[in-house]
Symmetry: C2
Subunit: 332 residues, 2 copies
């Protein structure tokens, strides 16, 4: 059973997932991509993965058999485990609980495509519906308070398989990055009486120079204080605090902006690794007027060094205005 | 002139240091280590670096000539620049100021050693005195509020030269990671009436299983909620809030624990990249009863992926008890 331990200073939870590895050399070259001679995510290899939790499949086909379009399975090497009690406890001056949570994998297509941008918007839309269905289901588990949907593309970004997939980890605590964002958003709201993300959408629509793509319901832009070259955020134009509570036309339109933005980035980045992640509101409320769900895309072109680890600040060698102009001008 | 931009949600300052690079491919393979055919940090090549700011050298030798033991120069490619005014301003809903600051390089030895552990404790002590002298000097600049001393070892950790060196970046703001640590420490103090770091030292001395090394004045240990395999903190046993205000015997003893800890880590990590950094108190006060300077060593054996970026949480595949036992048992 993994352990959840809390840093007593910053109050950051860390997952201690003991593996058999004990020597430092055991950690080198880990997370490397397996070669593609055999891919357990391809259609026909369903018996090589944990059983499916959810699949959208052709009428008449059987679970864990071919015939699916999107397939959700438990992660074979989960960071957190779904069985058990939290059993919160103190260890000396420190706090700990059992590593309870969910860790699921979304296989985005039965075909061995390496990128989301290879999918049609209609296929991507089904991936997004699967994200939403899983979030709605996991919310029912009262031990869990947060769900993070994320994607790792490329070995340097943490991917271990190339077949396009994404993941969901649900945790029994609100992660520190989310509580910081919510605190900042609440401070802004108490000062201005408006959602800071709604204000950012208005600001970016009027300034124009950081826009990467736009659809009826979404704006994709390089944030003013971009941490990384070509960092891009995708934000709903209207105020929705919870991703999974967004109306149907927003989910559908999200597929369009995601297709457009990811395609531009994948063309621009020329196979560079990247991550994306969805920041949404915690499970323990139905609506927050101050917080606004969004997707962040983090290209992995630069390295974290001592300054970044020590300060939490970043040195970005390109302005978001220059980066966004470059992305915006890619035809797709 | 670089720009400092503030993320309006998290309130994290970011340095936008526009370089000529504009295309994503310009950022690939950056930060790679130059080959060692020519090293500008070696004795005899003083004219290939910016002029020295400080050097400890043999009596009778000239500045920017051979004869030094430790040499401090301005970074040739500084993240922040020392000349100019801050000129704080609003841009629409965002905040910005000029990228004012200091960015200095400590060349730790005239000989082309690749690691701090190759230095004698007496040589390391001079490096630490140079850290201290530069902090004391930079504090006099009223535009600057914080100084971070850090070291990048290995290409993956952000080093561009192999000759052992460290850096100091002084900023006109308190970095977000520091303000979070100070806030957490103040909360703890207001609850318990004690410094949290002093309590951690006591806890670790009594628990013993996370200790990596110990000297008269310092304890090196794997923190309870370690983010990374073999993460190690070096903490003064007595309460000092500002690194640069530590008494002489503490500075001298710091060289001993650093030599011991770095040697154990470098043996264990077998050339793996790592960073270290010193967290100290801001320049705008003389003493904080709640905050305690320390050094953090971050081995770079695992990768940041979407979960880490999205949550600020980490998945650590080895417990600090196992990692510290491994390090502690290395003879040196």
């Amino acid at each position: 059973m993994p352990e959840l331990r809390k840093d007593p200073i910053i109050r950051r939870w860390v997952i201690i997932a003991r593996e058999r590895a004990k020597r430092p050399s055991d950690f080198r070259h880990k997370g490397t991509q397996e070669d593609d001679a055999f891919c357990p995510f391809c259609e026909g290899n369903e018996d090589k993965t944990p059983p499916e939790i959810l699949a959208y499949r052709r009428a008449g086909t059987q679970p864990n058999k071919p015939g699916w379009r999107v397939r959700v399975i438990a992660n074979k090497f989960p960071a957190l485990r779904i069985e058990g009690d939290l059993t919160k406890r103190g260890i000396g001056m420190y706090d700990e609980m059992n590593g309870i949570g969910a860790h699921e994998v979304f296989i985005e297509t039965p075909v061995h495509h390496r990128s989301s941008s290879a999918l049609e918007a209609s296929e991507l839309e089904e991936v997004i519906w699967a994200y939403r269905d899983r979030m709605v289901d996991l919310k029912k588990d009262r031990r869990l308070i947060y769900g993070l949907i994320f994607k790792n593309v490329g070995r340097e970004a943490g991917a271990s398989l190339t077949h396009t997939h994404s993941q969901l980890i649900a945790t029994p605590f609100v992660p520190i990055r989310i509580s910081e964002e919510i605190r900042g958003s609440k401070d802004y709201y108490s000062y201005r009486g408006r959602c800071i993300f709604c204000d950012m959408v208005r600001e970016e629509l009027s300034f124009k120079e950081r826009i990467v793509a736009e659809t009826a319901e979404f704006l994709a832009f390089g944030p003013f204080a971009s941490r990384f070259p070509f960092e891009t955020w995708v934000v709903p134009k209207k105020h929705f605090s919870h991703f999974e509570n967004s109306p149907k036309q927003v989910i559908e339109d999200f597929a369009l902006i995601l297709k457009k933005t990811i395609t531009r980035l994948e063309i621009a980045l020329e196979q560079a690794p990247y991550n994306y992640l969805i920041h949404s509101s915690p499970f323990d409320c139905d609506f927050l007027k101050e917080y606004h769900w969004h997707l962040e895309i983090i290209p992995r072109l630069t390295k974290m060094a001592g300054f970044e680890w020590g300060t939490g600040c970043y040195i970005n060698p390109i302005s978001p205005e220059d980066a966004s102009k470059y992305l915006r001008e890619i035809e797709c």
